[in-house]
Amino acid sequence: MSILGNRVLRREDPKFLTTGGVYGDDLPGVGALWATFVRSTMAHARIVALDAGGALDRPGVVAVYTAADLDLPPVPAGMPGIPESMFRPVLAQDVVRFVGEPVAVVLTEERYQGEDAAEAVFVDYEPLPTVVDPETALAGGTLLFPDHGTNVATDFREPLDEHFFDDCEVVVRQRVINQRVAPCPLEVRSGMASWGADGRLTQWLSTQAPHSAKDALAGLFALAADQVRVIAPDVGGGFGAKIGPYPEDLVVAWSARAQGRPVRWTETRSESMLGLVHGRGQIQDIAIGGNRDGQVLAYRIDVLQDAGAYPAVGAYLPMLTKLMAPGTYAIPKVSASACAVVTNTTSIGAYRGAGRPEATAAIERAMDLFAAEIGADPAQVRRQNLVSKDFFPYTTATGFTYDIGDYMGALDLALEASDYAGLRAEQARRRAEGGPCQMGIGVSTYVEITNGLPDAGEFAVVEVLPTGTARVYTGSSPHGQGHVTAWSMLASEQLGIPMEDIEVVANDTDLVASGGGTMGSRSLQAGGLAVHEASMTLVDEARQLAAELLEANPDDVVLDKIEGRFHVAGTPAVARSWAEVASAAEERGGLRVEHKSSPSGPTFPFGAHVAVVEVDTETGQARLRRLVAVDDAGTILNPLLAEGQRHGGLAQGVAQALLEEVRYDADGNPVTSNLADYAMISATELPSFELVSMATPTPVNALGAKGIGESGTIGSTPAVQSAVVDAVAHLGVRHIDMPASPQRVWQVLQDSASHKGSE
């Protein structure tokens, strides 16, 4: 019987539930200095004077460094095409471009001394005009990088043919704000750097991708690759925001070298809200056209991406938004245009979904607006326009080829599980009664891309030791997902070695030769696949050796996976155990297979969500009552792990729809930089999710697996937003931007009432 597909409990949990993890801040760090950063209090200003003198006299202060001390080049944006003049200096040089930008670092013996000393570093700022709003940035009146001549960081603009909508009976247009949000991993950034006497750097980072961090550090310090070791201790979440090393990490490494002592840092939550990248941040102008019978004929989206002060991954997200623009629908004509601009705000990076939630939110809003315009049921209009399951692999109007899908099937499951017809009946009844508390139903369908990076493969080593136990080395970078459980299931399935006898090694570049890390929902289909394939190869090699030991023909030798022994088919009494085979292999270099997977392409998970929301029309408060989610990630390795990913994703998706938004005032001062002001969602704002299973295996990899890390976020946001609008649609409302805060909903209702009154 196969272990795959079972609800195997997480092997990781006993540790986390008893002794707890060891995060960056828990490292012993004997003899390490603490780094505290002096951060810009201005959104845009010239540094006229910077005087560390006052800090140097403070207790415990060992050194204060500024950009003038650092001989480090600016950090490359990590993405092609971003102009060098927009690269980010490691510490602010002459000009600060967002509140929170590190200006200097203070090194102290004790951590608390750093806060006092940082206050004593004197920075004289001469304010420059501030650009917070992307449209203002696009207009270019004030430039963040005058040398570049424009605030546009990346440009994927395409003109719209003036006849684009000519054959449509109905065209609906809407501006949609996909607001800036903060990833808020529970563990903030933290780490330590230590240089050996041999000039080798060891750096502990709270990261999702140790190997690329290692490459970046080696590049920066002009070291050979083997002169850098990066270790990710337990990492308390990343959500895309911990992919690259941050400037602070580089300063910590540089300072450790300058001091000849280890240097460590852990940011505060308030720092994290400014220093960790933000997500989303798009202004979208959408237009959808079609016939009154419900057929959609043309769709156009214009994206203006806020890249933040220093363009990085965020400047590329609109590329993905463009490519995923048509979503699950077979729309004959799709046109997408985008560009990214810099503003005096925290940089935008990848955040759970990264570019795809924005695409889904836009097309789903468009579908709702179109349905409302022609007076049709939104579920029906969707059904009418979905790509049929007979057309896969399906190449979209924007040029992606979706591997496999059954969007109608997903929608039907979601509608059935939610009793859509019953919900509509209840809604009609409540509207007729006219009470203050109205009900809204939101439907979304989605398709997204996972493992979409150019290098789709991942590295793994599987070995069996003379003790008969196994070890799996993975280039994936576990930070909460349950890789140890998943990878030992995969190896155990092939090797017939019990899971508890399989050790999983990750997150240390000295122990694992290479790795792509964990992001973009790629782990199982890339890293898991590598473990699966390496394990199969290992069994083959072991069979050869067992055949020699058994003096039999390799073709006749089989692995008894229950006993974990090799024998000639039909004669199980004479067998060789894994321990015996591995011992025999020792003189030949051991039983060990090194492998990099090469999946033939990305996968396109899909699904459908139905949200039920109640809106108090007197106060504007929207509360989520139900969330039904169909998320098809192909073959499920472990439902428990998959559900965990869905739960987290759904919660973060709902959060964007109802609660979360990073805000700045007109001068670029952040006004949501703690968790009292930034309304991060909690369990009390969420109903129990209703998860519906659907599994359409992908042909792209042998596991049939697609990504599941981001699906929940992508599908739930538009479903919940749509439900809020639907709850007050009978009062004349067509659109409400996110987050649907009470004040915003109330304001929309006020506007709609006064609009009606003036008609």
């Binding site: 608390y112 806060e115 308030s270 007197e618 408060q621 949501t672 009292a676 002001d677 909690s682 009470p742």
Partner: protein, 274 residues
């Protein structure tokens, strides 16, 4: 998020606390549950040079029925109010309001005395005490004095407490059987109120408002309307009269004025106050 340096003194009695306050003057601050003071210190918005910890004065933690009133020690934690059988019997509003403060962690640390002494207009317990017509006892170098809740809150985070005084007891008239309601409007369960309304009906009706001005407020215009025989919705229409509510991330003054009218109406209806 690390406070500036300070000295720490633990008081063994109210008298010792008063003595320490007198000795150190304006530089000293009492520390009770620390759940208002410590956040301010961590953000370096407050930097007292001496903290006088009264958090372990267990003889100031009690809830006792006493004739027509219930007496509450200033060091009583929110959680102890929430589960107090004396309050559930005689002043259920107060137990309920205490149960709506923050999250369980906050409720196990924060004290009613600290909440009142801090005088934050966004706090829940001050509004409840206003609605209930509570009386506060304070001890200073000159001895003990009493003050009505209605006279206690004097400006933004400013109360009648002198820098060398300790709030020791809160006395609340029993409201057995009187209708009551607490409408706390917030976005997340653990959040502060965007607007809140505490209402008691019965022989001593009262309505307290959360976050509708620079101090915790009594809805005097509503109370007057009710006394003049107005219905719940007529009276609630006056809820924002003369008020100048704050503007913040969650609400404009205009929205707060709207909310308070809705919430007062709901509170009056639930309490059966009209």
């Amino acid at each position: 998020m690390i406070p500036a340096a300070f000295d720490y003194r633990r008081a063994q009695s109210v008298d010792e606390a008063v003595g320490l306050l007198t000795e150190h003057g304006e530089d000293a601050k009492l520390l009770a549950g620390g759940h208002s003071l410590l956040p301010l210190m961590k953000l370096r918005l407050a930097a007292p040079s001496v903290l006088v910890d009264i958090g372990r004065l267990s003889d100031l933690s009690y809830v006792r029925a006493n004739g027509d009133t219930v007496a509450i020690g200033a060091l009583t934690r929110h959680r102890d109010l929430e589960i107090s059988s004396v309050l559930h019997e005689h002043v259920p509003l107060l137990a309920h309001v205490a149960g709506q403060v923050g999250d369980p962690q906050v409720r196990h640390r924060g004290t009613i005395g600290g909440s009142l002494a801090h005088g934050d207009p966004a706090s829940d317990l001050p509004a409840a005490c206003l609605a209930l017509g509570a009386t506060f006892t304070m001890v200073g170098p000159q001895g003990e004095r009493e003050i009505e809740a209605a006279d206690f809150f004097q400006g933004f985070l400013e109360t009648a407490l002198g820098p060398d005084e300790v709030l020791t007891e809160i006395r609340v008239p029993k409201a057995d059987g009187a209708g009551w309601s607490f409408q706390k409007f917030n976005r997340r369960a653990q959040d502060w109120a965007i607007v809140g309304v505490a209402a008691v009906a019965g022989s001593r009706p009262g309505i307290g408002l959360v976050n509708m001005g620079s101090v915790p407020l009594r809805a005097t215009a509503v109370e007057a309307a009710l006394a003049a025989g107005a219905s719940a919705s007529e009276a609630a229409a006056h809820a924002a009269d003369g008020l100048d509510p704050p503007e913040d991330l969650n609400a404009s003054p205009e929205y707060r004025r709207h909310l308070v009218r809705v919430l007062v109406r709901r509170a009056l209806e639930e309490a059966g106050a009209a």
